[in-house]
Symmetry: C2
Amino acid sequence: MTVPPQAEIDARTKGPGRPRDPEADRAILRATIELLGEEGYEGLSIEGVAARAGVGKTTVYRRWPSKEPLVVDAIKHYKSPVDPAPPREEESTRDALVRVLSHFIRAMGPSESGRMMAGLVAEMSRNVELARAVRTGIVEHRRSFVFAILERGIELGEIRRDVDVEVVADMLAGPIVMRVLLTGGAVTPRLVRNVVDTMLDGIAFRS
Amino acid sequence: MTVPPQAEIDARTKGPGRPRDPEADRAILRATIELLGEEGYEGLSIEGVAARAGVGKTTVYRRWPSKEPLVVDAIKHYKSPVDPAPPREEESTRDALVRVLSHFIRAMGPSESGRMMAGLVAEMSRNVELARAVRTGIVEHRRSFVFAILERGIELGEIRRDVDVEVVADMLAGPIVMRVLLTGGAVTPRLVRNVVDTMLDGIAFRS
DNA sequence: GGGTTGCGATTCTTGGGCGTATCGTATACT
DNA sequence: AGTATACGATACGCCCAAGAATCGCAACCC
């Protein structure tokens, strides 16, 4: 899924005059993501974005009319550096879950999207457009990897057929999100293994 | 645990002059909580708090020097309307978990602390004092009820001894928090039962 | 009753971001 | 060459909140 920037849609690529610098688009979107993590949505200013991107305010306003469309666009273009690999043929469901969640904790690290997500949460409860962009562009994308592994596990007979994959996915990601956003607790590979094993085996005592 | 307001600590309750109106303290703290949910931490203004509380700006500044101590104090005094009842003698661990999590989804509703928590998340990643107040005053308080039930379940032999109660508590609350803060999905009693049963039984297929 | 402090309301200065306009320069099309 | 648009930089008026100061009145102590 490749989304052309609103800027490119609006920009007349034909006709006279100096063409827009595509490098400016990239620098602005990158600066927006960075500052979202550092300042949050409310604290984000167009002036700050322009300064961080090394461009003039004019260059920002020529492309985006205000903060909201800019942030929505930045989120649409945001990609984790790498997606987790699909499960290998011989890989067990447990190992695949550990692997994809380990990938997730790196992606949610403070230098990655963790701080950015925190900066967006407050505004998401007010701003429907923004919330939709985050959900479809980031949250659903990441949950889809867990869905795939769980459904494959059901096919393989390693996972019960009656489980609700959405709920299980949230139970797997929940402790990581809780720690990153709320408790500030440690997010380690050990936590991931613990979560996966607890999820597979349950907590009920069996005699 | 009762925390006297910073205002009361500072206020000279003895000596000459008109005493401070304790109703003003309560109105200010309540307005702060309300506006945190509506505007978020960044959007919260002292002027807005004074207006909502029906007091003058002077009355706020006489008690708190700035926004951060005010919000920290408001959180320290924030109490959910009611805490969940402790587990009854004959109650199963499953029923107790369903009951306490059902209580939790009400407490995290939009008219309760759900929006307030969303409004705080961004600032918590920057503001250590605020983060500590939220964690010790709200998050830990609520987790403690789940801890108690899990540890009781271990005593009763209904829960395995080797589980990590912190991780399990986050796995139980995770789907609720994820939906409230990120996905906006439905938070229903059915979800709670689903989460608890999935947690107890696990998802691994057993022949 | 005099001294002291709290009250709501209002005024004032300061600071910063918004969004527009304008500059001289750069780079494209025709 | 001529025209049109983009560029970074800057200046501008506007608005809003911070935080201090002041006012007349209220409530408490001695």
